[in-house]
Amino acid sequence: MAMPKIHIPMPLRQYAGKQAAVEVKSGTVADALAELLDQHPDLRRHLYNEDGKLRAFVNVYLNDEDVRYLQKEATPVHEGDTISIVPSIAGGKDLDDFQLSIAEMKSSPHRCCSPACCCR
């Protein structure tokens, strides 16, 4: 059976060496996430807040079940299991764009600072 793996969602891949999935050892969900952060420390602030709690807009699934309804981070992880990190996505507007002044946004034909405007 394959080692458990963690699926990295697209918005976070740039902080995980561009990988789509990372293999981890069995243990608990907490162990698996700790191992992920060991390998890719840049992910920490995107997944956890300053109090060390998993951010509310990030959900963690063991196979197809939300761990909030299992044993949360103490949920055991076995061989062949898949952990999915599922952040909320809305595509489109970079939230920082809201902080550009109206004048700046009107003075240029594009509305976004990102290379491709809006994911919608």
Binding site: M10, D66, I89, P115
Partner: protein, 390 residues
């Protein structure tokens, strides 16, 4: 398994022309005359006529949904054409609703189309939603997503949800009586700046097509009461791997909007909820700026300016000012490549990312650093017209 969602408009009768038009529906027992009549009697509201809204509205119109509402206040932009397939090149510059109306009525003149050229807000959402049976959410920002969700729960209308990012998408049906709502899954939005969508943004043009048609499919299933709708199911779409995974969604009994002890009983300020400053407030001042004219003049005069380009390598390939490329995300690691004694002008595509770079460098002790207002786009607009824009 038929849905228990209550979409019960009175069935409308079909003319001979409509019977011919929808013959491929009518000859299927799962639809038949009764199903097609239900479609005709149904009223669906599409929030957004962009990437997701385009295929959604097109297919609902083709399928014979009787009343379609479309909410959008935007104008067709050249860069929309890569994925917003309801628009043609000739539509660039026109109001999206005008162009969309032509296409939709062109496909199906029997359509009762209602357009709403307005921003969806807490002030208008509930009244608007009450006039429809199902809401399809094709918006592109978190405040509106939460607004749509809350308004759907409060108005008792199912929310057919789709969202996309680069190559991945999500789809589900929220806000049915027995199923979860968006807040059951995501009680809080991400703080601004924490979900990366800039720098490496972009979206594969086909992706909103894939997800938008899934939304249209779910709308039709809800109206007809057939199949297994995505209630309590989050479909994850990976277009690169062409893999579809499904996660179970549960109704959260503690959900403030749809749970057993509801604390949200009216619509709130969603920009505030998402931690976004109002668009009316000016950007934080204190970032030293330089206009492109000044840069041009000083470069021509042979001054020793260090141009720092904080875009991504693939953007540099499109056009550049010959600057030293350090993508914004790499700046903290590579700040030692910069000389504090030199005057640095930072730029990106439009001035947003480079403003952050300047803020960062000033905090790191650089005193001679300025942001190029308007970025390389301003340079292409005002200094070098031959430079490509993107």
């Amino acid at each position: 398994m038929a849905t228990t969602t209550d979409v019960k408009p009175a069935p409308a009768s079909l003319t001979n022309d409509e019977i011919l038009r929808y013959s491929r529906h009518l000859i299927m027992p799962e639809v038949g005359m009764e199903g097609q009549q239900k479609l005709k009697a149904a009223r669906v509201l599409c929030i957004g006529a962009g990437g997701l809204g385009s295929p959604l509205a097109l297919y609902l119109a083709a399928a014979g949904v009787g009343t379609l509402g479309v909410v959008d206040f935007d104008v067709v932009d050249y860069t929309n054409l890569q994925r917003q397939i309801i628009y043609s090149t000739a539509d660039v510059g026109r109001k999206k609703l005008d162009s969309a109306a032509e296409k939709l009525k062109g496909i199906n003149p029997f359509l009762n189309l209602r357009t709403f050229e307005t921003k969806l807000t807490s002030a208008n959402a509930l009244d608007l939603f009450r006039e429809f049976d199902i809401v399809a959410d094709g918006t592109d920002n978190f405040p509106t997503r939460y607004l749509v969700n809350d308004a759907c729960v409060l108005a008792g209308k199912p929310n057919v949800y789709g969202s996309i990012f680069r190559f991945e998408g999500q789809a589900s049906v929220f806000a049915t009586e027995e199923g979860p709502c968006y807040r059951c899954l995501y009680p809080e939005p991400p703080p601004p700046g924490l979900v990366p969508s800039c720098a490496e943004g972009g979206v594969l043009g086909i992706l909103p097509g894939l997800v938008g048609v899934m939304q249209a499919t779910e709308v039709i299933k809800l109206i007809l009461g057939i199949g297994d709708p995505l209630i309590g199911r989050l479909l994850l779409i990976d277009s690169l791997g062409m893999k579809f995974r499904e996660l179970k969604l549960r109704k959260n009994p503690e959900c403030p909007v749809c749970g057993t002890h509801r604390t949200i009983t009216k619509l709130i300020d969603y920009n505030e909820f998402c931690g976004i400053r109002g668009e009316e407030k000016p950007v934080e001042s204190g970032i030293p700026e330089m206009q492109v004219e000044e840069l041009k003049r000083r470069l021509d005069a042979g001054e020793d300016l260090f141009i720092l380009d904080v875009r991504e390598p693939h953007e540099y390939q499109i056009c550049n000012l010959g600057g030293h490329l350090i993508p914004l995300g790499d700046l903290p690691k590579r700040v030692n490549e910069l000389d504090t004694s030199r005057e640095i002008v930072a730029h990106c595509k439009m001035g947003g990312r480079s403003a952050k770079a300047v803020q960062f460098l000033r905090q790191a002790g650089f005193t001679k650093v300025k942001n190029l207002t308007g970025g390389i786009t301003a340079w292409a607009d005002r200094i070098d017209r031959s430079m490509p824009k993107y």
